[in-house]
């Protein structure tokens, strides 16, 4: 299977952007859409729960992050090659690893009650 030469750049930028955007999406609740469990409906943007049943934002956070990370990865592929050749492959794990303690901190109230 032949892979485009720019794929490693896309993959590294995608991992970094996805992790960062997902953390921000969860923190600020930037869900692209809301899924209402009570009515089995999708609504654009963030909406409050209906009929006392919790609304789900997780799918919306995933959509926000997927679109943003894909766009970032594709844009990076268009940047000059000499610039992208200096991109350290380690960013693809360093940033996702950093996201883990951030989520632990964001959810700390579950463990401190």
């Amino acid at each position: 299977m032949t892979v485009p030469r720019s794929f490693p750049v896309f993959a590294i930028v995608f991992a970094v952007a996805y992790s960062v955007v997902y953390v921000i999406s969860v923190w600020k609740n930037y869900a692209l859409f809301t899924y209402h469990l009570a009515t089995n409906e999708f609504a654009l943007g963030v909406e409050k729960p209906k009929e006392g049943v919790p609304a789900m934002y997780w799918y919306g956070w995933l959509a926000t992050s997927t679109i943003a990370a894909s766009a970032a990865g594709l844009i990076a592929c268009w940047l000059p090659r000499r610039l992208m050749e200096r991109l350290w492959s380690g960013w693809s794990w360093v940033v996702p690893v950093c996201a883990i303690p951030v989520f632990c901190y964001m959810l700390r109230n579950y463990f401190l009650r």
Binding site: F7, F14, M56, S65, G90, W93, P96, L107, Y110, R113
Partner: protein, 155 residues
């Protein structure tokens, strides 16, 4: 139908756990000589051959759990756990869903850096991505198991 999804989700998770553990051990603790023991044979697998299976299993397990099972969890499992005040259990489960997304973010890079021929230049990146995925898969497996045990099957 949900029971079928949950069982398939569990079976896929077991397969994924085995594959990623094989690969992680073969990278971080490679066998130096022909293995005689069970653990030695476990470590001396050709790590590259697991990559595609791990990517597919990770995505399938996440899809089953996140898309087909998770809505029912929010309606029929989470509320009783909240009423019981089992906040740490809910916290570790919320971490599971976030860790899964972090794992998905790394899959294109993980797949690329495990492609043949392997380059020594990216050996550290390959090893760290594998370790990160192994941590996430183990966390998700254990937390899913614990939540299932707390709520009780079919209760």
């Amino acid at each position: 139908m949900l029971t079928v999804f949950l069982i398939v989700h569990g079976l896929l998770a077991v397969a994924l756990l085995g594959a990623i553990t094989h690969q992680a051990l073969s990278v971080w603790w490679p066998a130096r000589k022909p293995a005689g023991s069970f653990v030695g044979r476990f470590r001396s697998v050709p790590a590259t051959s697991y990559t595609n299976a791990i990517v597919v299993l990770f995505l399938c397990t996440a899809f089953l759990g996140g898309v087909l099972i998770y809505p029912d969890f929010r309606v029929s499992v989470r509320p009783p756990l909240e009423q019981l005040g089992l906040w740490p259990a809910l916290g570790v489960f919320d971490l599971k869903e976030h860790f899964t997304v972090v794992g998905m973010a790394t899959l294109p890079a993980y797949w690329y850096f495990w492609r043949q021929p392997l380059t020594g230049q990216h050996a550290r990146t390959r090893a760290m991505l594998t370790a990160l995925l192994a941590f996430i898969v183990w966390w998700n497996f254990l937390v899913g198991h614990i939540l299932n045990d707390i709520r009780g099957f079919g209760s």
